[in-house]
Amino acid sequence: MNRSTHRRARTRVVASSSGIVLTVLLAGCGGSSGSVGNGAAGGGTTEAKGKASADCGQVPTIAPKDPDGAVKELPAELQKAYNAYGEEVFASAWRDRKALGRPAKVGFSYLPTSNAYAAAVVKQLEASFAKAKADGLVKGKLVKRIMTDPATMTPAEQIRGYNELVDSGVDVIYVTPLSGDAMVAAVDAAGKKGIVTVALSSTIRSKYAVNVAENSYLNIAEPTALVAEQLKGKGNVAVVRGFQGLSAETIGYKAVKDVLAACPDMKVIGEVNGAYVPPVAKGELLKFLSSHPQKIDMVAQLGVMGSGVYAAFESTGRDTPKVVDAGASASSLASWEKLAADGYETAGTGGNGTQQAKAWFDVGMLVLQGAGPKVGTITREPSVITKDNLADYLPQGAKPSDLGEVKDGEPWMPEEYLAQFFDNPAKN
């Protein structure tokens, strides 16, 4: 596994953006929360399956929850992507759906965009829609619903907008859910009316939903494992948690725990709450550091807070530990690169909204054309950023203060990759 990780890191230059990025960045908004994917009775869903059985620096192998055996049908290579997947993976209700045979009416339910990633997603979706319209795949205008008041942003609020879309008679609804679970009932209802729901980044556990999502577990586990390996399984670890109350956060936290469980010599000396907001992470870390003078070798942050972590250490003048840069941003990579000069190395995962939104839209179109999705959740192995491929993600002249996303790198779920998840993609 160890070697394979390396190979993958070398051979595949894959950009991946953690699913949590979108949801949680929005979720933090207005102090309101969302939840990604599962969380049945207290989250931590992967606990059910076998315990982490791996050496230090390796990602444990945990069979996904596959009630319909849908994953089993997939080619072995694809199955790897479902390792330790947080939520159940259902078979899709749309497998036998006939082609729509006419231009589709499209609905789009999203959250107030408060960052570059979310903005990019919206922008790309509109672009894809325009293109599809030119190709005669869709008609009319993109019917949008967004929460008016970020302060009262609750799952209930989004469901209301979603239901309005359903009533407005669209054929497919693209949704970036605040809470995957909250949507289930609504999506089932819509599905029974024959309306397809395509969710990005967070998993709606309904067979009527086609989820295009990152694997929240691997997304944290793989870079963490790499860094642990770089440290030879020794050292002090600080964990920067995300917005607690989100199941993605719980899953990610579990991932860190599992990986470190295999490393007896790595000691978690403390945890702080970063709430997935870099400035918050920075502030909390400063508090933490002022009571923890000892050397810190690794900071495991649960996504998108890399820049905050770097900033905290830089501003206190302490030497920067290896930052697990899951959901890297231009800012965090720039900080990494600056340090790389004197042999600093770590690992992370990257990606941006544009490429995700593109794949996302395509999936929806495929389903409408009766391509027959084999499985209700389409995911992929997160791709890891190492010093070898750092350049592929780092935008030209990026500064640590930049807000931008990382560069594309290799396409995220390109058509041929997606094709493997459908019975008859040829139609497309």
Binding site: S33, G39, A41, T148, D149, A156, D181, G245, L246
Partner: protein
């Protein structure tokens, strides 16, 4: 706001009160508005409703009612404390709603109290929390905003402890709130419960009159032998009980309970109450005001959604409309005062 009205400078009650005093109040529109302060918000809400219906042919009353419920209930729950006067206000309503949702999802549902049984249980719990708040304010003689702010923090923390991550409780009885119960929309039922509580206590018992009197002039009430402290505590208790219902509606709508929603309704609920025309210095108004105000805000949000306002402009327009609504309300109110 006491900062503006000015005993020494405002005109003395009125010149010939003898006349107004002896002749019954004129049944004019003006006096009608004066007596039913919620009419302004109601009118606003109706206008917005029409606008919505026009822009959204299939409005789906059932689901809309269900979606209105949480804000509506949060607003209603804020009413008793505000009416009780002396700066009464309850900032801890929103986290309390979430608390009841979480208690249901993490405690009651697992032990098989998933049905409507949970409703009374949680309402009592909510009432108890409210009572605690009330006691802190009355016995401790602390400013309500201070106490309830503290309670806000405490309850938010408790919520997080109860459910570190969202808890799913799909397909429970509470789901009916989102759908319909027999012929009746579930949302309507949800809204009806607090209303019922309010009406039962304030109409059938002397409490309603006492609450208004205490809010209007607690010194008078006190010297006339009204147990002012008890009245206040009970007000907060009522608020708590109502809030509990709101939490269950959230579950019904989202089939999850999450600590994250703790602060969602704190400010908007008070905004709704203010828009509904309830004087924040207490004594006046009623639950109808809160409902009307909440409906207005809800429909405003909904309309902006329907109109596909670009997200960048959304907040600007939303805020502007909110202000102008309150502004008109205030001016109308002052007009009426002048007219009386």
């Amino acid at each position: 706001m006491s900062t503006t009205n000015h005993p020494a400078l405002t005109p003395v009650p009125d010149p010939g009160p003898q006349t107004t005093a002896t002749t019954a109040p004129r049944r004019s529109l003006r006096s009608l508005f004066a007596r039913h302060t919620y009419l302004f918000a109601l009118g606003l809400a109706l206008a917005l409703l029409v606008a919505n219906l026009v822009n959204q042919p299939n409005f789906g009353a059932t689901s809309q009612l269900a979606n209105l419920a949480p804000l509506g209930i949060a607003a209603m729950a804020s009413v008793p404390s505000i009416m009780s006067g002396r700066g009464g206000i309850d900032l801890s309503i929103s986290p309390l709603m979430t608390l009841s949702a979480l208690l249901y999802a993490t405690q009651l549902h697992p032990i098989g109290l998933g049905g409507y049984v949970a409703l009374p249980v949680l309402m009592v719990t909510g009432a108890l929390v409210g009572t605690l708040t009330g006691l802190l304010i009355v016995v401790g003689r602390l400013q309500p905003i201070v106490v309830t702010l503290a309670m806000f923090f405490v309850l938010t923390g408790v919520d997080l402890k109860l459910a570190p991550s969202p808890t799913t409780v799909s397909g429970t009885w509470m789901a009916n709130f989102a759908g319909s119960m027999g012929p009746v929309p579930g949302g309507l039922v949800a809204l009806a419960i607090p209303v019922a509580v309010w009406l039962l206590i304030t109409r059938l018992t002397t409490y309603g009159s006492l609450l208004r009197s205490v809010g209007g002039n607690d010194v008078t009430a006190f010297t006339s032998g009204v147990p002012v402290g008890a009245v206040r505590v009970l007000a907060y208790a009522m608020g708590g009980a109502m809030a509990a219902v709101g939490g269950l509606v959230l579950i019904g709508l989202a089939s999850t309970a999450e600590a994250g929603t703790s602060s969602a309704y704190t400010l908007i609920a008070i905004a709704a109450v203010a828009l509904g025309g309830i004087p924040l210095q207490g004594g006046g108004g009623g639950i109808a005001n809160a409902l009307a105000g909440a409906a207005a805000i809800y429909l405003l949000q909904s309309l902006l959604g329907v109109l596909q306002v670009s997200q960048t402009w959304l907040q600007v327009i939303y805020g502007a409309l909110l202000i102008s609504a309150v502004l008109f309300g205030a001016i109308a109110a002052r007009e009426l005062k002048a007219g009386r």
